[in-house]
Symmetry: C2
Amino acid sequence: LNEAVPLEPEMRRAGEFDLIAELRRMAGPSADARHLVGIGDDAAVTLPGGATATSIDALVDGVHFRSAWCPPRAVGHKAMATALSDLAAMGAEPGEAYVWLGRPHGLDDAGCLELAEGLIDVARRHGAALLGGDLTMAPALSVCVTAVGHAARAEDLVGRAGAGAGDVLCVTGELGSAAAGLALLEDPGLAGRVGEAADAAVARQLEPEPRSLAGPALARAGASALIDVSDGLGADAAQLAAASGVEITIELERVPVGPGVAEVAAAGSIERVELLGGGEDYELLCALPPAAVEAARAAVRQTGTELTEIGAVGAGSGVVIRDAEGGSYPLGGHDHRAR
Amino acid sequence: LNEAVPLEPEMRRAGEFDLIAELRRMAGPSADARHLVGIGDDAAVTLPGGATATSIDALVDGVHFRSAWCPPRAVGHKAMATALSDLAAMGAEPGEAYVWLGRPHGLDDAGCLELAEGLIDVARRHGAALLGGDLTMAPALSVCVTAVGHAARAEDLVGRAGAGAGDVLCVTGELGSAAAGLALLEDPGLAGRVGEAADAAVARQLEPEPRSLAGPALARAGASALIDVSDGLGADAAQLAAASGVEITIELERVPVGPGVAEVAAAGSIERVELLGGGEDYELLCALPPAAVEAARAAVRQTGTELTEIGAVGAGSGVVIRDAEGGSYPLGGHDHRAR
């Protein structure tokens, strides 16, 4: 934004009335009886009952994605998915979402509506209602989502801190595809060398699906600690280990490998472990007492994915990643904070 | 942000562990028994009870302020104040706040901590706890705050839609100083011509105080509709009129004029009505049945400010602003959407 442009109140809000009205129409009235007032007043009004889990996350062009390869609908999809993933990682049921959209001059009304479609589609499919929003100008496309989830009692929610020595470490779904997708999007030449396998990986990067059903299922099945794989397997395992005061050992060959990972690693001369630890898969990593594993696996299967045992929880601290030959790897996840 | 910089996971989070730990220490544990889990897990956990009011707002450098004249502490102060003002405008008691901080390369760790001090100081003084946050890089300093307020019952909250013909229109405090402050900050030459009166106006622009006590007091006193003066007196009155299906008449000479407004108008050759309608004062505009006015005035005085009758609610639609000679003004508030 140009310093010469005066700060006028009309810049603070970045939408004509008809765009705001259209966004409000798209969000629609919520069918949830706990939602008394949605978009359009100073604040939304709800009757939450029970316990709530609340998380705030933002995506920014040039930091988390590039608008050059991430269409507005995918930006909205991913922003809502990452916010809802935090609720799944607590074992909470999705309830409400509140969104700020920072709109650059280059995003027209149609782009705003496409972005809102992505947001609202994901919210609706996962049982969350968009109850509030703010729309202003911003130098780069930015979306901030606050998601609120629910549980009957606080005891039904599972944080990061409950893992104990002897627990089994499990993960839902498969890892690495989101990082493979990012590599493909950042290097179009690589996509040409990878061929068909590229599509699935790119889809996982652009439009991840939060584990909204598996999270509460794992909580009910007795998970002792739960976190989503956002920063990267190693980094997130380190968070869980630190919060629980335990050591986590991950057997690399047991980590389920997502579509496109092998092909991108081969075509791009990238270590497979880098992709597996690259994050943004939004799968759930959990610690389970051994007696709870079978029931948890069955419950997760009911939600349409698999639960795989990938390691163990022991006394100590930190994370060890071992390959089949007993070699030890750095954490992966690229997160220098966690090294 | 440079397109040539790869999108690496470490860019997604913009803080070293020790900065995150320091921010968490500053936020502190909440003394509120309803706050079970704060910063540090995938989501905060609360036991809200009753009804909640939730609002999301963002401030962006170059859109809502300029870092050239708005120090980090004031950015944090104003971001939290504007969010809490939405709760006051529902008559809700402040409860929890969740913050995303988008950090440009130019803002160092000390600047982040100063900004957090501003956020946390306002939250704490108004009874809200900072329970969650996200810190990432962003091309321009950006702060998004979701604020959650509470009331025992949904019926205790007051929206924009309840004003009826015959109601009296009132406003807390004084208007225009925030716009006068903005004019001063945007034109340092003007400040030199205004002298001492500039300080109070600049303070109201940089560090407004939400009416966290007056909002619930007005709700208890029987306000039929309530909104905060953020976009501008005329624009916000128009929102209230449209939501309630009424016409609002404002008597310009009755609008309480804040410090510095007369001086800035004179020195800057700015119409006083432009400043009065310039918004960002975060006072409360409310409709009250005539029988409720005296009690409301007394209740608001107990909170440390005055309630002034500035107009009337009648049948019809839209807003009319009249001066002492019967002349009619455009709305003010600079908001072309509302014209």
